[in-house]
């Protein structure tokens, strides 16, 4: 098991270095790296000094490591568009994105699992059929369309919920939260549903198919033969076995949350990292683009690693050697 963990760690480092290379290339070759770091307002002295510091006359690999070293310390340079250090901008926008991601993730997982189990236990029946039909629509529609539809119904026609922004937020130390105000919570609802809907339908369909598969297994039969109650059979035996493959999928959904997060933040003008990234792309603000890329890569790699390792603890069969057992 230790060998497996080490191998995964090694892979993760390689991925980070590779992504770092792309970010570095963007930083160095698109636009002026000195401008990137100092912003447009620098004096000639600063420029010369930095040139020397950066060692732009040094070999490329050396520059690359310099870049990565600075990035590791949180120095991503200065944004073109805003003239502020990138790291400040990112930290400012982080809470918005995280709150949105967590709330929508929670919504997707909770309702996804609940609906998945319900439609697996009652295989036929009107409710199940309609839920399945609606889920097909949920999977087919592009996220931004769902968002716009929701805005149209709940903001324009009904006027119940706001169509953009975070509402009023409360500052706690360095964090800003929208969870403590009524307007903040209201503003969170539509974006969370938009972001979470695709995940929810995915999870629901996955849970349903896994559970149907599990319910066919012999040990379920044997559990019923021992006279266990329906609840014990469905939840203690079937659900636990269903959730094992589902958790890996949930972990890997992170990618979708990031991608759809960008779209959702754009639809609702939600002031998070995704919106910052898109704006940066539109205005060719290289420092923010490079920083976002590295940040995302780190998040991915870390979460994938955690999921892989957690999986070993959930399924006891894998503790021998995950590579061999049923991979």
């Amino acid at each position: 098991m230790l060998a497996y963990i080490l191998r995964r760690l090694f892979q993760s480092v390689i991925v980070l270095l590779a992504v770092g290379l792309v970010a570095f290339a963007m930083f160095r070759f698109l636009g002026d790296p000195v401008d990137n770091l100092l912003g447009q307002e620098a004096t000639q002295e600063d420029i010369d000094r930095l040139r020397g510091e950066l060692g732009l006359d040094r070999s490329l690999p050396a520059q690359y490591f310099g870049f990565m070293a600075r990035a590791a310390q949180g120095d991503f340079g200065v944004s073109y568009g805003q003239g502020r250090p990138v790291v400040d901008i990112l930290l400012e926008r982080l809470p918005a994105t995280l709150e949105l991601a967590l709330v929508s993730g929670f919504f997707a997982i909770a309702i996804g699992i609940a609906l998945g189990v319900a439609t697996a236990i009652r295989r036929d029946g009107f409710v199940t059929q309609s839920v399945m039909a609606l889920s097909l629509i949920g999977v087919s529609l592009p996220t931004f369309l769902i968002g716009i539809l929701l805005i149209y119904v709940f903001s324009v026609e009904l006027g119940w919920l706001p169509s953009f922004g975070r509402g009023r937020t409360v500052e706690i130390g360095w964090w800003t939260t929208g969870l403590l105000t009524a307007s903040g919570l209201k503003a969170l609802i539509l974006p969370a549903i938009t972001l979470g809907l695709y995940q929810m339908t995915l999870i629901m369909r996955l849970v349903r198919s896994e559970m149907l598969e599990v319910l066919r297994q012999d040990y379920i039969r044997f559990a019923r033969a021992r006279g266990l109650t329906k609840r014990a059979v469905h939840f203690r035996h079937a659900l636990v076995n269903t959730l094992v493959p589902v958790t890996t999928v949930i972990g890997l959904q992170l990618g979708s949350i990031i991608a759809f997060g960008i779209v959702t933040e754009t639809v609702f003008q939600w002031p998070g990292l995704g919106l910052a990234f898109i704006n940066a792309v539109q205005f060719v603000d290289i420092p923010i683009m490079a920083a976002y890329l590295l940040l995302i890569a780190v998040m991915f790699v870390v979460i994938n690693l955690i999921v892989d390792i957690a999986y070993i603890f959930i399924d006891p069969r894998l503790r021998i050697d995950p590579q061999e057992a049923g991979a």
């Binding site: 992504v19 592009p142 931004f144 716009i148 169509s163 990618g255 960008i262 898109i278």
Partner: protein
Amino acid sequence: MRARIATALDSDFAYRFSRSPLAIVSVTVLLSLVLAAVFAPWIAPQDPFDPGALNLMNGFSPPGEANAFTGDSFWLGADEQGRDVFSTILHGMRISLFVGVFAVLFALVLGVTLGLLAGYLGGWVEAVIMRVADVQLTFPSILIAILIFGIAKGAIPVEHRDQMAIWVLIIAIGLSDWVQFARVVRGATLVEKGKEYVQAAQMVGRRPGGIMLRHILPNVLSPVLVIATISLALAIIAEATLSFLGVGAPPTQPSLGTLIRIGQGYLFSGEWWILLFPSLTLLALALSVNLLGDWLRDALNPRLK
């Protein structure tokens, strides 16, 4: 050829198709949309890209009614520049389809080539290609497409950006999608490599390129076609999303996504038609493509029979 069509029409597949109302409706809707898009220049009442045909006074005309100033009426209304919404939708679909088809072609050619090379040559070539593929797969393809678009934007001088946008879009979506083709083809190539006809060709002394192209390629194509159809659906949605985000088709050559983006700005001011009709069109397109794809997957799945 005629015999093959006859067997196809007679097959199990055709039977199931004619029995499924969902499949029939999806295909009908899809075909009508595609045909409308292809023949847009001839069907559209107005060429929305010709500034000379536009009359700014027509701006914001609601659907159906005759404009108070000019007397023109537009079936689905006019946008802020006086462009007929119906025409912009038709042309927008055209652009979406164009980008989708070419992006998939690009991804296919790139992926198949790399897959063949990886599978046939093995060694470090295969290792490098597959590593890159794995790394790329850990990231969502939209992100990669946006990134490529951003890099291209940084590299291309401002004057040319709008013109190049469509091509950059094609390359961006294509580059984000090649991996699945490469993987499938590599797998199939590895299987074929061990077969006798390949060894025979090698013994006769044919060059690797020749062997790959003429012998292996035809045998690995069928799964590729299945992936290509699904990819097309995804590419169209991807294009719509990118254009909506503002990193896709520009307002001068708007696709459905761009139109929706523009329309969102008028949501509260009352010109609902600028948003609604492009949205409905995209809805119909996305739904029919997905329903058809879902049905296809079930119909072609040998396990369910």
